[in-house]
């Protein structure tokens, strides 16, 4: 029984909060919710990965300071805050 409880605890941790359905990024101007470049959500509903701006994409930008924005939506349809770098 104790082992079973440990298993349930382990599984509950794995499944907790596994509800992202959409992710996206954009460069500079905000294209509006859902209109960015899509990020593939993992099978657990989380996102853990890399976003790469290709040299060609960077070359198309004018000189100056640029932002990369990232955000995600959950299964309830809520978009999170956009984070920028």
């Amino acid at each position: 029984m104790k082992a079973f409880v440990v298993l349930l605890l382990a599984l509950s941790r794995m499944w907790a909060g596994a509800a992202l359905t959409q992710g996206e990024y954009f460069v500079d101007g905000d294209p509006g919710l859902g209109n960015g470049v899509a990020l593939a959500i993992g099978p657990n509903g989380d996102f853990s990965g890399e976003v790469t701006l290709a040299p060609s994409e960077i070359a198309s930008l004018p000189d100056g300071v640029h932002f990369v924005g990232v955000r995600f939506k959950d299964e309830a349809g809520n978009w999170g805050l956009t984070s920028y770098q």
Partner: protein, 327 residues
């Protein structure tokens, strides 16, 4: 018994995957929690864990983060209870940490690279290391220092204050400042000695009184100036009527520390800043008097890591992103 051994093996394998732990801290002993002090939780935490400082009527005291952690707090808007600390220090060994929803009655200091301060309040803010982000915060005096100055700092949607040299508030290194409200102490002085040594871009922001006539290495774009418009500004404009843009409270609102007038500002109804969007076409910050205030644990997706990993001409620029929904 055989099945139990199998289950145990599976459980052991799963726990061995290294799930990040969440440690609940509450110094109000009438509520359950994993720990009563931040330090106890910090001692138990490992890199990647989350520590939640539950909103409380008492300060958690000075907080020093020495591991890459997520530190969450918040404010119970109805009761006023908040996650209050004294000084908040993200140390060098805490590189990559996130602090969100914390009310620091002392200085917030980013001493680790790639640290993020989000939806926080602080009496003053010190940024010593590269690639730090300050987002949707409300801070007093800002110091952006350390050697030649940190590079890659991003400050967005934030109200902050800069002051005279006598109070040792100044900026070095490279900055990207966007959608901010920047107040300056001493209306009879100027911004020159404060901004004059930094590089980068200030955009979509409101800058209060003071002359800006130095040969700036900072560029300004789509900003609203209450003093003169610096020569490096494009699309800048002087405030046609400051009363239409923001108001300052003559006395501190309830719960605000005395003497911190930079925290009194709020955007007035009708301010263009209130309807600003992310396109860069409008000016100002988002939010009102206290944009950092939020209900505890809003049930929206949360980004726990967003930092640049590499940048080179062959492979482009790669960022590491981690996000999850709220439980």
């Amino acid at each position: 018994m055989k099945i139990n051994h199998s289950l145990l093996a599976i459980a052991a394998a799963l726990t061995g995957l290294g799930f990040a732990e969440t440690h609940i801290v509450n110094n109000n002993e009438t509520h359950s929690a994993d720990f009563r002090s931040f330090q106890e939780a910090h001692d138990a935490a490992v890199a990647g864990d989350t520590i939640i400082l539950m909103p409380s009527g008492r300060s958690y005291g000075d907080v020093t983060v020495e591991k890459p952690l997520t530190l969450w707090g918040g404010q119970n808007v109805s009761s006023g209870a908040r996650s209050e600390v004294g000084n908040l220090l993200l140390n060098e060994t805490a590189a990559g940490s996130l602090a969100e929803g914390i009310w620091a009655n002392g200085a917030a200091t980013l001493n680790g690279m790639n640290c993020v301060l989000k939806r926080c309040q602080a009496l003053s803010l010190n940024i010593y290391q590269d690639s730090c982000t300050v987002e949707s915060c409300h801070v007093g005096f800002l110091k952006h220092i350390g050697g030649e100055g940190p590079v890659g700092t991003v400050i967005r949607n934030t109200i902050f204050r800069v002051s005279s040299n006598s109070l040792n508030s100044y900026l070095l290194g490279s900055l990207t400042v966007d959608h901010c409200f920047i107040d300056r102490e001493h209306t009879g002085g100027n911004f020159n000695h404060i901004w004059g040594r930094a590089t980068g871009m200030v955009s979509n922001s409101i800058l209060t009184a003071g002359s800006m006539t130095a040969p700036y290495t900072l560029s300004f774009d789509h900003c609203l100036f209450f003093g003169s418009i610096p020569s490096t500004s494009s699309n800048g404009t002087s405030a046609p009527n400051s009363a239409d843009t923001f108001v300052g409270h003559p006395t501190p609102p309830a719960g605000f520390p005395p003497g911190e007038t930079s925290r009194y500002y709020e955007l007035k109804a009708g301010s263009p800043a209130l309807t600003g969007d992310g396109s860069g076409g409008q000016q100002g910050i988002f939010g009102g008097e206290a944009p950092f205030v939020h209900g505890f644990h809003p049930a929206v997706p949360r980004i726990t890591m967003f930092k640049k990993l590499s940048s080179n001409p062959t492979n482009g620029i790669t960022f590491r992103v981690e996000a999850s929904s709220q439980e």
